[in-house]
Amino acid sequence: MSSIRFDAVSKSFGAGQVKALDDVDLAIADKEFLAIVGPSGCGKTTCLRLAAGFEFPTSGRVLVGNAEVREPGPDRAVVFQQFALFPWKTVVENIELGLRNRNMPREERRIRVMEAVELIGLNGYEGAYPHQLSGGMQQRVAIARAYVLDPQVLLMDEPFGALDAQTRVVMQEELVRLARRNPRTVLFITHGVEEAVYLADRVAIMTRRPGRLKEIVDVKSIREAEGWERYSRIEDVMDLESFVHLRTHIWRSLREEKTGAAH
């Protein structure tokens, strides 16, 4: 059981001057894929950092699997918005650190890491250091570093933001395949509305700062009813009328927030 629950969570920074989150109630079910969209600076990363155990609520509680979050841990793998790869470690060393921490035998580790390198298409770069890679390649290493842990909960902060359009599509389709094959609880932050609709079971829309939950859009029921699963390619899904409808709805809702228009 690895649900995530935000229980009346507020979070302020710096002696309360900056209120990032205001009374957020949000429940992500076990093995559910939830995407958060919202204007820049509305508190999306803050939500993720609370679930990861890097920050703690000013009031309210954050629970993962019914236990209050007290510290970071490998049961909740994080893909950081700014990668946070270790510059002094090679691609392989970055990816395998989590497995070493788990005392996995060397041979098994090697196989798992090679699979991950294959998945992110970085064969030939195993011994490269992060500074020798492009931003997109670094981001893929950060994704692999989280995937190899095979965690119950994946926390991803704009993980595809630095990728070129083609690579992004490949990674998105791969994430969907992974999610179907081996479902896990995912909290996924993005600025891409289409990405959110394509990947998520539900999409949470946040207001401008201080971030509140504005609306939650159920994608899963429509995806299943309209049979999106029949299409393996993202562009085919994006052409479906039901997809366009959801996307436009979320766009409008977001736009109100960005321009600050009254409802």
Binding site: A52, F54, P72, A77, F80, L85, F86, P87, P130, L149
Partner: protein
Amino acid sequence: MTGALDPARRMVLGLAGLVGFFGLWALVAASGLVGKAFLPGPLEVAERLVTLLHTSFAGGTLPQHLASSLQRFSAGYLLAAAVGVPLGLLMGRFRLLDDIVSPLFDALRFIAPIAWVPFAALWFGTGFGGPVLIIFSGAFPPCLLNAYRGARQVDPRYIEAAEMLGTPTHRLILEVLLPAATPSIVAGLRIGAGLGWQSLVGAELIVASTGVGYMMVQAQSGVATATVMVGMAAIGLVGVLIDIALRALEARIHNRLARA
């Protein structure tokens, strides 16, 4: 002037300074204003240096005294680095340890190495242990402080990433804090070496029965000013060599990290 001329200009000016210094020294010594016993000329000091390379004075030749000094220096310095760097990293990681050690350390570090001499002599004798403690007291603060500051200034994202990957404490210190703090640590090791070397000679002036400092005190009591000056030159030269070696190491590490 343009920057391109600077290195050449600085070399010429530096050379001029040195020539001026030796010229003035030779002139004053030759003028007879100061008694010859108190101010031998540069040539005389150089001659004395050559002599001391193979003749024994105060129980050893100059190289033997230097070797004995360097031995004490190495022991005290390595001890300072071996204790200071890990302790500094641990203090950077654990708030509790920081709170316990910092006030104590702040109180102790204003006791100059030379002020440790009587205590060191009482407790560890004047042979090896005493001087080693004094060198330690000089080299330890920069080793500890720089490791501590380096660890505190590590980008918190790296620490968060390591924690999220379930990294145990010893590995977090060895594989995250240590590499991230390396530039600061190496700078501390260099400063510590300089202070340690300075303290050593101070210690040997008072305690110890070998070493360059001891040789100088013996020479002083016999008004062998040339020998005293040879000792000073040797101290300066070895200090400069240690500094150059550690600067080169520092530059290499910086170059390697700059690529990242």
